[in-house]
Amino acid sequence: MSARRGALGLALLLAAAATAAAQAPRAGEQQVHEVATQLRCVVCQNLSVADSPSEMAGQMRAIVRERLEAGQTPEQVVRYFVDRYGEWILLSPPRHGFTLLVWVVPAVAALAGLALAGLLLVRWTRRPSGAPAAGAGVDAAMRERIRREVEREP
């Protein structure tokens, strides 16, 4: 009986230890993933380090993990890669210098488009009320002729 209880206790303890062990690195894994998604895979330039199955990306993820475990902040880890590869390594273009354009131009263009659409909308909706009644383009002589032509038809 007591042996069985001991075994049960041990099993519970092991299960608790296993879940604790499984949970602790998962939090780290999440952080590794967050950093890795910001970095461009250097051998497959359109993928992030988090998504690439390449060996190089695997090695880069290991370096990210190791640095985070050594107590570096995610920003410090990203900076480490930027120091070596330049800003090219960042998947999102940095929000300063020339690449700021990439962030600003779409917003400006959208606003300009919206303004233009608004302007045109106002113009198009105002014209009928401001314009004279329909048929203004047809002069009196022409109107008279049309009336005669219509009346002559059987």
Partner: protein
């Protein structure tokens, strides 16, 4: 009256876009300027295929050519291997150090490569990729020219030619000042 400028503005708005595309298509996206040129070369230590230790820090005072390669890197690494060996033989008496770092490779394949080309300068594997990331390597081959003070003075991407090797090494060997 307001129609006139609008009619001109629309086609004109394409011009900056075309200019950007013209610029973009001329730039080689595979060529990435290294921020490391002019900076101190990151230290590293590895074991050569012969089992000897190699540490960059121990080479201070010598001009070092650091070459990253892989046995699967065809044809560039195969083109430059004879160049490296030839140039190393030419400059070794003048104190030049050439070190080959094999990255993302398998041990047997790498050893075969070294044997086939009869490379006599030290070569070793960067098994965890730490050396290559420290040097911002994004493809092989890449070659770094390090001066006597341990600073990276030039980076060559792609197969190194006799001309590129000679020019860089001569300049660094001539520079004996602080």
């Amino acid at each position: 009256m307001t129609r006139r400028p609008v009619r001109w503005l629309l086609p004109l708005s394409v011009v900056p876009l075309l200019a950007l595309l013209a610029y973009g298509f001329r730039v080689n996206p595979h060529e990435i300027p290294s921020p490391l040129v002019g900076r101190p070369a990151p230290g590293f230590a590895l074991q050569t295929f012969e089992g000897a230790p190699f540490a960059l820090e121990a080479q201070r005072g010598k001009v070092v050519v650091l070459n990253f390669w892989a046995s699967w890197c065809r044809p560039a690494c195969y083109e430059e291997a004879p160049v490296l060996e030839r140039q190393w033989r030419t400059y070794r008496e003048r104190g030049l150090v050439v070190i080959g770092v094999d990255i993302q490779d398998r041990d047997e394949a790498a050893r075969t490569f070294v044997r086939e080309f009869g490379l006599s300068f030290p070569n070793g594997r960067d098994t965890a990729g730490k050396v290559s990331v420290d040097y911002g390597v994004y493809g092989v081959p890449e070659t770094f020219f390090i001066d006597r003070q341990g600073r990276i003075r030039a980076k060559h991407v792609g197969a190194v030619t006799d001309e590129a090797f000679r020019t860089n090494v001569e300049k660094l060997l001539a520079d004996t000042t602080g």
